[in-house]
Point group: C2
Chain length 432, copies 2
């Protein structure tokens, strides 16, 4: 690989573009550098419109699919290029309600910087390339994380129409939000009709491991499995003053014990992580014993078997608590979403590894599993995929304090460029 | 008292009026007999308008004060009647978001039935009488239970302007809701300017004691003390997939342990009752570790000292949990509201006792403390007050299944009539 062109991305341009667009569309109030750019909000629409304009100015062809995914394709040189699917570089521009500037956004900006660099130097790849902005990766506005890449991979448990029908908390249907922002495209959201030859994604680690180990780059080999559950606890309403303590059937007290048990079980079994992210009570009166509580559970482990094992342990703990309470409180649980463990492709992993080693050397890279879900988990089911991780300061993410240094952002973008060129060259040579 | 007139209320009229107005204004969907008649809602306005019309048709003079309290006064025969303050019969027409047909509503309807009975028989008391509908007793829409009787008694910790500024969950100010419904009166909400000579209130017990003891009537001698607190638990937001379990500062897990401790401490100390009625999380994302949880605590005991003792025990338990967690989660607590222990007046208690004994005999009555707060707790601070309790089926209240039999409703109304006549007679005779 020593003969590879010494093509360098423009680190200043990458970082200043990322910061200035974040400041413009979705920034929380200064001095926070946090972001609130919910999927298909006005902030997201502005960022999308800008992205489409930038890619168009680089000569890319824009395709919007039925889920609002943006594909910005740059032509390749291959004789069969009209038949060839592009090598994809995807991530997402949406954020959590109080997230940061790097989760997702860095990956899209790095892909744009790759396209800009190739354009500046008029370098043409063999295969076409495509920047992809996947819609609603966070699932923070419309429930269902990695939603649109899930539909595209057609292995998602949620079909197109069901996703269109999901509503945000104000009752707005997703299809309406797509139409309102101008991103309800006609191209099928289906890899068999609008496919990719491979998918690369630069992302921040969102955890503390790279920083702690003193590494600069993570070569991501898989994404852990995850399942989401909705739990409803029921009891009996009653007056807070007149109902004697021993006669209560208090749904909130029982739910509280269950929530603590989710954490305790994850700690005790050491199988993975389990989180109750959302809680809601039917009761809005301070003087009423709550009778209905809803909460969610998010379980993630290295393997699908471990996810199931941890879930079983949690629900066994629940049953014990219900028996201990023995006061008429009950729970029902519903599985709402899941992402099976995903193993990335050896060729894509090899392309990332070669590029990372060349940039920073063996000592500063490490192989890792992703503990967060990513669009790449879905794409890996239908096309060769891998990811590049760069460090997150203090491991913080989904938080306004999320931070990745400009140097690490630039390093990641450079490795994304190198990986795509490496992969393209091997394809051209017929080796892969 | 054997010479008292054998004046009988009309049980059928009382019960049919109560049921038909509940069906019309605020009924939950059949077959539930539950009610949702929030203070100053359209349902409450209709019920109020109807009440004003009924009382007007009986010749009463209507006064609306600055908190929307309705005073419907019937003249007395005393020579100094223009100077005399009325003997009050008060309760409330508003309900919990999912309450029943008897809590408060029975007391107002019984007072109306007393006025109707006196009107039918053209019986004139010595002192004037007044039916009172107190505004926002439940505190379910505008936070602060027994709000308007609290302002009227001027011993409330919440002055008029602060109450006007309270907002419902949609942001509507109470003063606006008063104006919108036509119940922002000009009469000062102040017992020194619009006072009562005494206050009687018929109410359902809202607990299981009368039923369990086989009694028909409770002679209420006091109301237990109560304090409300707002607790905020803070932690650190983080990604549910990438934040290792031991590194979390999860506000919801800590809050859950605190909520369970509220119940456990009340059970263990046996000082009174403690309830977490409302919980709210800042986080709306299933994939984010919650960083901010708010919940309320309602503590009620027989004496103010016991309230403080139970509160101290709860917060000691909180401190232990925070120390055990030792993960950066913290809590802050704010006292939001309180009602000191209230002792009712010997004359009013005697009037209720004499009337109850005459109706059902010594064997079917019992003295009791009220475990729920009532408008009478406030009035008792500025005028002689007592209450009559009738049984609640299964002790259920603040619940659509709240039920008191027509016979018990009628019995309560009869005792209310007799108590007022008894009290009035003693006043006339100059004995009290």
């Amino acid at each position: 690989m020593s003969s590879a062109p010494a093509l360098r991305i423009n680190a200043d341009r990458l970082n200043s573009t990322l910061q200035s667009t974040c400041t413009q569309w979705g920034a929380l109030s200064a001095p926070s550098t946090g972001m609130r750019r919910l999927a298909l909000s006005q902030e997201d629409k502005h960022a999308r419109d800008w992205l489409v304009q930038e890619c168009t100015s680089l000569g890319c062809r824009i395709t919007i699919d039925q889920m609002g995914n943006i594909f910005a394709a740059r032509r390749g040189m291959a004789k069969d290029r009209m038949l060839r699917q592009p090598i994809g570089m995807g991530s997402h521009l949406d954020t959590q309600p109080a997230g940061g500037r790097y989760d997702g956004i860095l990956g899209v900006h790095a892909a744009l910087e790759v396209l800009r660099t190739l354009h500046d130097h008029q370098v043409w790849t063999h295969s076409p390339l495509a920047l992809i902005n996947w819609t609603n990766e966070e699932g923070a506005r419309f429930p269902g994380a990695m939603m649109a890449s899930g539909v595209w991979s057609t292995k998602s448990s949620t079909p197109l129409e069901a996703c269109w029908e999901t509503r945000d908390k104000d009752g707005v249907r997703m299809k309406q939000a797509l139409a309102d922002t101008g991103y309800l495209g006609e191209t099928p959201c289906d890899y068999t009709e609008n496919g990719l030859q491979a998918h690369f994604e630069l992302h921040i680690e969102q955890g503390p491991i790279l920083e702690r180990e003193g590494k600069s780059v993570g070569i991501v080999t898989s994404v852990q499995g995850m399942k989401w559950f909705a739990v409803r606890v029921t009891g009996r309403e009653g007056h807070s003053g007149t109902t004697p303590m021993p006669e209560r059937s208090d749904a909130l007290v029982t739910a509280s014990r269950l929530i603590a048990a989710v954490r305790d079980t994850a700690l005790k079994t050491d199988l993975g992580v389990a989180t109750v992210g959302v809680i809601h009570s039917d009761t809005s009166s301070q003087a009423t014993i709550p009778a209905g509580i809803d909460f969610t559970i998010d379980i993630r482990c290295s393997t699908d078997e471990m996810v199931d094992e941890l879930a079983s342990a949690v629900f066994e703990a629940f049953d014990t608590i219900i028996e201990e309470e023995s006061n008429g409180t009950l729970y029902v649980v519903q599985r709402t979403w899941g992402l099976p463990e995903s193993k990335f492709h050896e060729h894509c992993i090899a392309a990332v590894r070669a590029s990372a080693v060349r940039e920073v050397g063996e000592q500063r890279i490490m192989d890792m599993k992703s503990r967060a879900g990513h669009d790449s988990a879905w794409t890996s089911r239908v096309c060769p995929t891998s990811m590049i991780f760069v460090p997150s300061k203090d491991g913080i993410s989904h938080n306004p304090n999320e931070y990745t240094s400009p140097e690490h952002c630039a390093l990641g973008a450079q490795i994304l460029l190198d990986s795509v060129l490496h992969y393209d060259k091997r394809l051209k040579q017929g080796e892969w």
